[in-house]
Symmetry: C2
Subunit: 340 residues, 2 copies
DNA sequence: TTGTAAGCGTTATCAA
DNA sequence: TTGATAACGCTTACAA
């Protein structure tokens, strides 16, 4: 227990109490082996008695770093975000780093604002979930990007390291699953015309279709990743005379909308139609019928991303390539054998 | 555009280029009015030409603060968390602060770990979503708590400022709504025996029952806030001969479980039973039937909490009392008139 | 209105 | 093995 000292103890207080110089105290802490056993002991007890904790600001100023990572996310409310954040946070904390959150809401000006953490040195590295490089960090820009890892949504036209699920492989798996259930008319509901992720998943879907002996048609319907767009896509579909028997949706949200629309029209899922989603958001198992989907290894994605970022920060040589993690097929109740 | 300078420009670079002292540069930035128009201009252009950005570490060291707030949350995955975080983050950013995330997972040792941000001066203030004071900051502890605001879950036995929804009033409203629909046998499914929030909501429920002319019975069933516990509570109920006609659930998760159990037994909601939740989590409107519930003003809670914390940090005199925000009744489809 | 200089609390170099 | 001491980059009296 320390006296009711007003100000926190400094290294000097410790030095005084231990009867050594501040240099020795610093050494005793950072390079114990370079200090005599006896003095080290004196220092240790002095530290305990003063309740000393090194002032991070002073340390960081001196060492020119902050041990802080900025995470730029387009939407904290995205159902995938918490899981990824947990992973990021977990390894950051384990490795002595702090995680600074920046919610950009997709607004460029806000992104700019957050970049100040980097330019002022409050953060050492950057995790980008936004899918694009902030203009303040663009190649030609005065202050270029610091150590960066992109996550969840690859950044086009850059060579930044990326960590995410293997969208193509996972989507192929989902499609093949539908095929294996006997479906031959399978629709893909996209996540928006220009969406990178959506295109990747569409590619996987095409690959899946290609695996089938029978020639299967590419049946792409535009959505935008929202539940509402899933609903709308189904509505548009019912104007036509021919219908798919199964839906592979860009994400779970869309799938939920699709199921809702189908049921509203009196159809049963999975008896009349099969629908499979992507993400395995927390509520996927709570809807009726429980959603069959592809699980994104969110926490793992976060962990790997942070590990790679910190490796770079700590100068450990690191590859700059993309790291695609395996997504699992989670079979629940929304898919069934095709009606013949 | 600056030269391809290796190291970021310092205040000294600016001073040199502008032909003034570093003190003047500092002044020109922080107290422009105390600097001659002409020199201020020279400084401004010099800053632009060098691409100077003040080193936050140096500033913070000198000014003995960090402009950083630590947010300690028991679970990032909690459906209420993102909304609150958005609010916290929004005003923090607007006021020039950064938000540091600490996911404690309910683990005390982890909490300890995060307190290092406070003790080392990396963070100036603390937002507590955990519902309890970290032991490292306990009253008797060597290093007591810095400026703190508790959020979402009041911390017992402390006088820390609190911001959250008015659980009692909102629960009363929910109960009265059920009563107004003609329900007379209303069950409350709790969030766990010792849970503060659950007890508050139970109290509101009792208050609501008391408003009714007819004497209504307190019918409390134990749950734990999980969907599963809602399911289980219903199952236990069906052993009895008399049943409630409506359920007021501790939270939406529980309500979802209740509805699932009811439907599994072949009952219809809201025709046969009414169920109302609490929180209005994002998926409340996506389940079938869409959930009637109490909406927590999550973002607003976060905003108010951060505002109050920063007010304290910046020495603006602030009240230390609790701030209870109004929760709205969101009427959707899960409640209907009582069967007579 | 401007400059000089004393810190802020560390780390790390260089002698002793 | 230890101790002076010079940075790290900034803010802010105090003088000029």
């Amino acid at each position: 227990m320390s006296e009711p000292s007003k100000k926190p103890a400094t290294i000097e207080d410790v030095a005084k109490l231990a009867g050594v110089s501040i240099a020795t105290v610093s050494r005793a802490i950072r390079n114990p082996e370079k200090v005599a056993e006896s003095t080290r002991k004196k220092v240790t007890t002095a530290i305990a008695r003063t309740g000393y904790t090194a002032n991070a600001m002073a340390q960081n100023l001196r060492m020119r770093r902050s041990k802080m990572v900025l995470v730029l996310a387009p939407s904290i409310a995205d159902p995938n975000f918490p899981g990824i954040l947990i992973g990021l946070e977990k390894v950051a904390n384990a490795r002595g780093y702090g995680v600074l959150i920046g919610n950009t809401d997709g607004a460029i000006p806000l992104e700019e604002t957050y970049m100040r953490f980097l330019s002022t040195g409050m953060a050492d590295g950057l995790i980008l979930l936004t899918g694009h490089v902030p203009v303040a960090g663009q190649p030609g820009s005065p202050n270029s990007l610091p150590a960066t890892v992109t996550v969840g949504r690859p950044v086009e036209a850059t060579t930044l390291p990326y960590v995410g699920v293997d969208d193509v492989a996972a989507s192929k798996m989902a499609t093949e699953y539908l095929v294996s259930l006997g479906h031959r008319r399978i629709a893909y509901i996209s996540g928006g015309p220009g969406d990178v992720l959506s295109d990747l998943r569409h590619q996987g879907y095409l690959n899946g279709l290609a695996e089938c002996a029978a020639p299967l048609q590419d049946w792409r319907l535009e959505g935008d990743g929202s539940s509402e767009s899933g609903r709308a896509a189904v509505e548009r579909l019912f104007i036509k005379d021919t219908l798919p028997t199964a839906f592979f949706c860009f994400n779970d949200n869309t799938a939920i909308g699709v199921i809702a629309a189908l049921r509203l029209r009196g159809y049963r899922v999975p008896q009349d139609f099969s629908v499979i989603g992507f993400d395995d958001i927390p509520f996927a198992s709570n809807i009726t019928p429980a959603l069959t989907t592809i699980r994104q290894p969110r926490s793992q994605i976060g962990e790997r991303a942070m590990d790679r970022l910190l490796d770079r920060l700590e100068a450990t040589p690191t590859a700059t390539d993309a790291e695609l993690l395996h997504g699992d097929l989670v079979v629940r109740e929304s898919c069934g054998p095709a009606q013949t």
